[in-house]
């Protein structure tokens, strides 16, 4: 049987506010354990939560960026469950009326764009962090659990997609697109590796061509875009295997194991009613008036999709434009390169190619590197003027990134500037011809493959600083 995957993604975004969602404790993940706690976020009797205005502004901003409707009036609910990372035994969340609902984002895979609907974005609070102590460090064999409540009560926005996603690659593209939008809004540092943005996938499959949904499985614990894609791919195949053999899918939560490349069953999922949601009596409704919403809308920055479209208008190819627009650091560097006079596509190639590769290798943010837009423009100018070969240009860029100075300075210091003086090149060619008269006679006699030998010799004589194309032209002119 041919199966069609049906995938929805839930994303949790930690907001980078100064203080927590319902109390004045600092949001600071570097702090010593349990130093940012108070009666409210520890759930002590009698403590009252008071919502952080900035968090409500920021979730509204997120909703607007995802083309959501903003509820004029929404409210908080208590989601009741017992787990030691939540000291109150309930999480303050939203249930029937979230702040944001019914939006969408466009997601592109292999040049094909699909609109993925966003069901809702609601406001809630994060849980504390648990450390499971035991032989393997895994939850099943833990002998005790250590709790740090510094994260408990940090503002958390959950963004829930509709089950519109149809492949693992599209799930990854959705997650990546969503992350770039959240990062562009400046409301979260949106780092997967630090858990400030977390993705869960709901995966089911159905016979291709049918409408009814299969039983869905929630997959958790993916901490990179790659592992999200792998986990969804694995889950699709696992379910197809079971159904092909006549089995049934259990509705459950499964844990992705990056090392083994498989998902493991975690626990059976409690039904929604078991959370016994009820309106949070300690909190008043949230009202986002048109006036407030418009004020917030006015603070929206240019979003990555609009930015990428603008770059494509400057002649940058679609892939590079998307990469540039998806990163604040690359965007800033690209804009300043253009301002310094670099051609758009050339700057785009350097930034999305060599510079990005260097940043990954060195694990240094482009924004923290020594590179400036003026450097990019100068480098592009030197290549265009034939002063640097493309290989030498890469080398020069490496030195610039390492902080050795601007391209002209480092190219001179490392003796990488190409000989651009035709007189000097011609005398080098003539010298090589004089030293290899036999071979030159054979070349002139039609043995054309010897041209490579002569170019190589001229490169040797010039210490690699000749432009091979110019050298070839001069040799040919000597055959005449």
């Amino acid at each position: 049987m041919k199966w069609e995957p049906v995938i929805g993604i839930e994303v949790h975004v930690e907001l980078e506010t100064q203080s927590k969602m319902f109390c004045g404790c600092a949001v600071d993940f570097e702090a010593e354990p349990n130093t940012n706690v108070c009666p409210t976020c520890l759930g002590l009797p009698g403590a009252l939560p008071v919502p952080n205005r900035k968090a409500i502004e920021w979730i509204t901003k997120i909703g607007l960026a995802f083309n959501c409707s903003i509820s004029e009036r929404s409210q908080f609910h208590r989601k009741n469950y017992f787990y030691s990372d939540q000291p109150k035994n309930y999480q303050i969340s939203q249930f029937d009326v979230p702040v944001c609902h019914d939006g969408w984002i466009d997601v592109t895979v292999d040049g094909e764009t699909s609109r993925i609907r966003v069901n809702r974005a609601h406001m809630e609070e994060d849980t504390g962090k648990s450390i499971h102590v035991g032989e393997s460090g895994r939850i099943h064999s833990a002998t005790e659990t250590l709790l740090n409540f510094n994260r408990a009560g940090v503002p958390l926005v959950e963004i829930v997609s509709e089950a519109d996603i149809r492949s693992a690659a599209q799930a990854r593209a959705y997650a990546q697109t969503l992350r770039t939008v959240v990062a562009a809004l400046g409301v979260s540092d949106a780092k997967l590796e630090e858990g400030s943005i977390r993705f869960d996938a709901n995966v089911s499959i159905r016979p291709t061509g049918t409408e009814a949904f299969g039983t869905k499985v929630e997959v958790k614990n993916m901490n990179s875009f790659r592992s999200l894609e792998r986990a969804v791919d694995f889950e699709i195949l696992r379910q197809a295997d079971i159904l092909d053999q006549g089995g049934t899918i259990d509705q459950e939560t499964r844990h992705w194991d990056e090392g083994e490349g498989v998902t493991h069953s975690m626990r059976s999922k409690e039904g929604s009613s078991d959370y016994r949601y009820f309106p949070e009596p300690d909190l008043l409704p949230i009202e986002v008036t048109d006036e407030w919403r418009n004020e917030i809308a006015a603070t929206l920055p240019e979003l990555p999709a609009a930015r990428a479209a603008r770059y494509m208008g400057l002649g940058v190819d679609a892939d590079s434009a998307t990469s540039l627009a998806g990163s604040d650091a690359l965007t800033a560097m690209f804009q300043s390169s253009l301002a310094a006079g670099a051609p758009a596509q050339v700057a785009a190639n350097w930034l999305t190619g060599e510079v990005t590769a260097w940043s990954r290798r060195a694990a240094i943010d482009i924004a923290d590197s020594a590179l400036t837009g003026a450097h990019v423009a100068q480098l592009a100018g030197m290549v265009a003027a034939n002063l640097l070969s493309s290989t030498a240009a890469k080398e020069v860029l490496g030195y610039v990134l390492a902080g050795e100075g601007d391209p002209e300075t480092v190219a001179a210091a490392h003796d990488l500037v190409q000989i651009n003086d035709s007189g000097a090149l011609e005398s080098a060619v003539d010298q090589v011809i004089g030293e290899n008269e036999d071979q030159f006679a054979r070349l002139a006699g039609g043995e054309d493959k010897l041209i490579g030998f002569f170019v190589g010799q001229v490169m040797r004589v010039t210490g690699g600083k000749a432009d091979p194309r110019a050298v070839t032209d001069i040799i040919r002119s000597r055959i005449g």
């Binding site: 506010t17 100064q18 203080s19 109390c23 004045g24 404790c25 600092a26 010593e32 354990p33 349990n34 130093t35 940012n36 706690v37 108070c38 009666p39 520890l42 008071v50 919502p51 952080n52 205005r53 900035k54 968090a55 409500i56 009036r73 409210q75 009741n80 469950y81 017992f82 787990y83 030691s84 450390i131 499971h132 035991g134 939850i139 099943h140 833990a142 002998t143 005790e144 659990t145 250590l146 709790l147 740090n148 409540f149 626990r267 059976s268 409690e270 078991d274 016994r276 309106p279 009596p281 909190l283 008043l284 409704p285 949230i286 009202e287």
Partner: protein, 96 residues
């Protein structure tokens, strides 16, 4: 008409252990409460906006300003068990 409640399920969700006698007592008492709720639900509420809060107020916010937290030693001294700045609890799984 009394409403049937799976009182053992409710007790399990609340993580409380009840004797047979208590189960029976609470089943009856909760049943009375649910009967009452059912009677309230019979009232005509068409055109009446839902009330989730008795106060006619919205948007009681605080500004995003950090205030001092509690002293950790004092906090942990109130806990049954603590170590190295952490609360220490038995290992737990959600659905045991």
């Amino acid at each position: 008409m009394p409403i049937e409640i799976d009182i053992a399920h409710v007790a399990r969700l609340a993580r409380i252990e009840l004797s047979e006698r208590q189960l029976a007592d609470y089943r009856a008492q909760l049943g009375v409460i649910l009967d009452h709720a059912a009677r309230v639900q019979e009232l005509p509420t068409e055109g009446v906006a839902p009330t989730s809060h008795p106060l006619d107020m919205v948007n009681a916010f605080r500004e995003d300003i950090v205030r001092p937290s509690l002293d950790r030693d004092e906090v942990l001294s109130q806990a049954p068990d603590a170590t190295d700045g952490f609360f220490r609890v038995p290992p737990s799984l959600d659905n045991e």
